[in-house]
Every structure is written in C-alpha cells, then in structure tokens.
C-alpha cells in the first residue's frame, strides 16, 4: 500500500535519513523505533509532505506521491497525528473533529457562506459523522468542551479521531503513547488494534514505549543515525544485536 524507495534527506551537510525503504501492506500495523534524533519524525514528515526528500521516491497504491502537499495527501488517504499534540486550541472537541471532515464538505466560500443546498446536506452528514466518531472513542460527553480542557490522554485520542475524520486508509501516529501511564498505554494498544480491525486501516507508528510497539506491531523498522539498522517481526528485533547496541550503547 505504502512504499518508499531509497528515501534520503539532507539538511545542509547532515544526512538525517538515508536510504530508507519502507513497505506497508493492507491492514498492517508497522512500527518505527530508534533512539532520540534517529530521524523517525523526519521520515514521517517526508511521507506526509512536510519535507521534500532529497532523493528517493514514495509510492502509495502504485502512485508516485513524492513531493505532494500535505493537504493533497490527506485527500488521497494519508493522515497523521503529531508528537506534540496539535489540536485547534480555541475550538471545541466537536469543532476539532468537524475540521477533519473538511475534505468531505469540500465547500468553496460562496456555497458555504450562502448555505447552498448541496452544502447543507454535506454539512449535516459531516456533523453526524463527527458525533459517531466521538461516540466510538467515548468522547461524546465532552463534545462541547474546549479541546484544551481535556486531560492529556483524551487529547491524544481526540487527535486520532480528528485524523480519522479525514477517512484515511493509512494512519501515521507519531508517538501516540507519549506521556501515558502503563494502564493508558494498554488501552491505546487495544484502540489501535480496533482501528485496524473495524476501519480496515493500515497503521504506521513511531513509539518509544517498547511494551506498546512490541505488543501491537506486526513488523517494525529500527533507525539509528538515519540508517535502517534492522527490520522484521518484534521477536526478531528483540534479539537483534545491532538494536541492542544502539539502545544500550557499545563499549
């Protein structure tokens, strides 16, 4: 479904990511781990169009999407969350999700301002969908609260729901378990599996909590200093000497 070939990006003299080859299949949960500064988020930023790779190609459903803008990628079905939560601060929980529905309402200024018939219908559908999504993640009770009033764990969930509102077929999660306690992390794992099973999503995630990545991922990639040092099933990664060295340091 999503494939990269020799993805490389240089910032000045620094090669942040070099020759990254990714392959994500349908309904697959793939993890990306590595020490701090290994280039994980940079990979995300290249795939979602925030950065343009220096060289290499990105393929999505046999289409070359290298260099596409983030909003075009969202329209194509690639959506993401952020490491440092980026909710719309002055909007309610419900409005945040509605922004995610923007693509479906796809209205120009005039049809939306003057409430032309087609727009009304699409807007009503979007509102209905937003209610449903919020119900799915048990945030129905706080719909009209300001987004920033939610506790941290719920804000993370809201960010994921907002991404789901764009109807993605592949979801990129940047450290979804950051700042969560073990109990919350377990719930998150369960939630990610549900997303895959109920919405038929492919998921690509960056995570530091080993418990979460090992528990939820089908396959994973390990980055260190921009190089892919290992890939495979969680059980294989756990035994990989290079990975252990990268995390614990070599003498």
């Amino acid at each position: 479904m999503l494939k990269t070939e020799g993805l490389t990006i240089r910032f000045g003299g620094l090669t942040a990511v070099s020759d990254f080859n990714l392959n994500i299949g349908d309904k697959e949960i793939v993890g990306l781990i590595g020490p701090n500064g290994a280039g994980k988020t940079t990979v995300f930023n290249m795939i979602t169009g925030v950065y343009r790779p220096t060289s290499g190609r990105i393929w999505y459903r046999d289409r070359d999407i290298t260099g596409w803008k983030p909003h075009a990628l969202a329209a194509a079905g690639i959506c993401r969350t952020f490491q440092n939560i980026r909710l719309f601060r002055d909007m309610t929980v419900f409005e945040n999700v509605l922004v995610g529905c923007h693509l479906e309402i796809s209205s120009d200024v005039f049809s939306s301002t003057f409430r032309l018939p087609g727009y009304r219908k699409r807007e009503a559908e979007a509102e209905e969908k937003a209610h449903q999504l919020l119900k799915m993640v048990e945030l129905s009770g706080v719909e009209d609260e300001p987004a920033t009033a939610l506790p941290y764990g719920q804000q993370r969930r809201l960010e994921i729901v907002r991404a789901l509102a764009t109807r993605p077929s592949i979801l990129l999660l940047d450290e979804p378990a950051a700042g969560m306690n073990p109990q919350e992390s377990l719930e998150l794992m369960e939630f990610i599996r549900r997303l895959r099973d109920e919405l038929n999503l492919s998921i690509f995630l960056i995570e530091h909590h080993m418990q979460v990545v090992m528990g939820v991922c089908d396959r994973m990639y390990v980055l260190d200093y921009g190089q892919t040092i290992a890939q495979g099933r969680p059980s294989e990664i756990q035994k990989n000497q290079k990975v252990i060295d990268a995390y614990l340091g070599v003498q």
């Binding site: 979602t48 969202a74 601060r89 002055d90 909007m91 301002t113 991404a163």
Partner: protein, 370 residues
C-alpha cells in the same frame, strides 16, 4: 440561534437598529449624522480587516492601499464628464474613462471587485511570507499602490486628487452596506470555510494535515478582505466627496487596526462595537487637539493629542484585556443576560459576605463568652 426566544430577540434588535437609522437620518444635524454614518463605514472596514487578522491570523498592514483602489475606481466610474473635465485640468484623463459614468451601486460593486482582484494578485507572492514579514510586505504594497496613484496623473489626477464627488454615501447606503457586511461575515464564520480559516489561524501545520489547502484559504481570505476594504474606501470617498493619495497613508490603516484590536481580533460583535466607540470618541476627543486652558496649564493646541489619548486607551485595554474587549467571543443573548444580572449578583455576593462576617463575629463572641 439556539431557540425561538433568541431568534425573536435578534429580530427585535435588528428592527430597533433599523429604526435608529431611520430616526437618525431624519432628526440628526448634518455633523452628527456624518459621524453616525462614519461609524457604518468603519464597521465595514474593521470587519474586513478582522477577516484577515482575527479569523485567518494574517497580519496585514496594507488596508489603506485597497481602500484607495476602491475609492478611486468608484469615483472614476460615477463622476460625470463635466466633473472629470473640471478635475483633470493639468493632465487630461485617458479618453476611455472620460465617457464612463454609471450609477453608484454598480460602481460600488465594481470598485470592490477591482480591489479584490488587486488583492488576489498581491496575495500570491505576499502570502508565502508569515507574521512580521507579511506585515512589512503588505505595508510595502500599500505604499506602492499609493505611489502609483500619485504618479498616474492621466488616470487618477495625481496629487491633486479628485474633488466634488457626488455625495452618494447616504445614511441608508452606508448602514445597509454595514449590515450586509456583518451578515456576510457572520454566515461565513459559521460555515465550514470559516472553520477552515480558524483552523489555519490556530495551527497551520495541523490544518494542512487535515486536508485544508492552507494557501488557498489564505488567498481567499485576503481577496475577500480586499473586496470589503475597497467597498469601504469607495463609501468613504463618496462621503467626504474629495479623495487624494495623502488620505490613504498608513495612519488610516492604523485606525482600523486600532478598532479591530480594541474590539478583539476574532470577534464580529467586538469589531462592530469598537468601530462605533472609536469613531464617536475620535470626534468627542477633538477638543484635545484644540487650545486648552486648564487653570495651571495652557496649551496652544496640540494636533495629534487625540491619538495620544487613543494610544493610552489602547494600552490600558491591552494590559487588562489582552485579547481586546470581546476577545474572540461573540455578544450573545446569554452574555447580555449575564451582564444584566451582574449588579444583582454583586449585591447578593456582598450580602452573603456581610452575613458571613456577622456570623463570624457572632461565633467569635460566642467563643469568648464560652
């Protein structure tokens, strides 16, 4: 509109406002009426800037430029041939403009459209910049527009400006324009496009990741804002009946920014209230510029002291209410209700406090007695 009662209240308020306009038009003396109408024009201008500054988060300092475009286009379209011949005595007007003379309303719309088109052309290069850089670039473009107008004598009559424009900006025209602008902005901000604009303001990266074409939203917002700025400029021109390039300097932009910031960037009602308050105060405070005799101090007239007073006023507001009078909230019937009940609540709170105090005293006394 949450319920029927609020809808009725709103309808009532609109009718009341309409009655005020009708009464004002028939009973006010010409000076007061002029100030009253100026309020309406500033509402249009403040809302158009708020669209950029408050809703899309674009800090533009180029408003005077778009107003100038609107004012000149409208003036050239409406002036009669004789009037044009009278004005252009140094350099004759280009022939194709000489014979055009159309009614005011279509001219007003065309003025807005031309201004919007100029805004659209400027938007593409300028909106690649952000924050302070955007402000500087728009300021630069506004200056360019002004310099072009000053030097394009065969079209604009240069520094002499255009005099004796027909006074088309009647009370009804300006207030209907203000009402339509307000309605348009309210509808826009409650629509999905308005939501996209707010999203762009609050977090551009997240908005883009949600599939919002950020650049397009910004360009649209800039174009719409230029449209209303052009209409506002045209109304202003036909009210003052004289326009020249010196009118459209940065000071004019500053006045509008003052209104928007005071009222609260991101609040329609804030802009409307603040436009009225500031316009009225500007006239009421005119005595500050004149010679004053304050027993101990005598001033011989300090032109500009008014603006000093305004700057102090602005500072005080910003210190106590960082986001302006209304912040990004709107005036709703609910908030009006709360405000009306404030004195009662205050009295109740004071009574409760007094009770608590006397109870406390009583307790202390009992304690002593024991």
């Amino acid at each position: 509109m949450k319920n029927k009662r609020e809808l009725l209240l709103t309808a009532g308020a609109v009718i009341l406002a309409a009655i005020v306009v009708v009464l004002a038009d028939s009973f006010m003396d010409s000076f007061t009426l002029r100030v009253f109408n100026l309020c309406a024009i500033y509402i249009v201008l403040a809302l158009s800037l708020n669209l950029l500054l408050g809703f899309t988060g674009l800090f533009s300092l180029g408003h005077a430029g778009f107003m100038a475009v609107g004012a000149y286009v409208c003036a050239l379209l409406t002036m009669s041939r004789d009037l044009k011949e009278m004005n252009f005595f140094l350099v004759p007007l280009v022939p194709w403009l000489m014979n055009i003379s159309i009614p005011f309303l279509p001219a007003l719309v065309i003025a807005g459209l031309v201004s919007a088109f100029v805004g659209f052309l400027i938007a593409a290069p300028v909106l690649r910049l952000k924050d302070d850089y955007l402000a500087i670039a728009t300021l630069g473009f506004a200056e360019i527009i002004r310099v072009v107008i000053t030097n394009l004598q065969s079209v604009t009559n240069g520094a002499q400006g255009l005099k004796g424009l027909p006074r088309y900006s009647s009370t009804y025209v300006v207030w209907i324009a203000a009402a339509l602008t307000t309605l348009f902005i309210i509808l826009l901000m409650r629509s999905s496009f308005g939501r996209a604009m707010k999203a762009v303001k609050q977090d551009e990266i997240a908005a883009e990741a949600m599939g919002i074409n950020v650049f397009r939203v910004k360009v649209t917002s800039f174009t719409l804002s230029s449209f209303f700025a052009g209409v506002g400029g045209a109304l202003l021109g036909h009210m003052i009946t004289t326009i020249d390039p010196k009118m459209f300097t940065f000071t004019l932009t500053y006045n509008i920014i003052l209104i928007v910031v005071l009222g609260g960037a991101g609040s329609v009602s804030g802009s409307v209230i603040s436009a009225i308050v500031v316009t009225v105060l500007m006239e009421l405070l005119r005595f500050l510029d004149e010679p004053m005799d304050l027993i101990f101090v005598k001033t011989s007239g300090l032109p500009g002291l008014r603006m000093v007073a305004f700057s102090i006023f602005l500072m005080v507001v910003i210190i106590y209410r960082q986001r302006g009078l209304m912040g990004d909230r709107e005036l709703s019937w609910q908030s009006v209700g709360t405000a009306l009940e404030a004195p009662r609540r205050w009295r109740a709170a004071r009574a409760a406090k007094a009770d608590a105090k006397s109870a406390g005293k009583k307790k202390a006394k009992e304690g002593r007695d024991a």
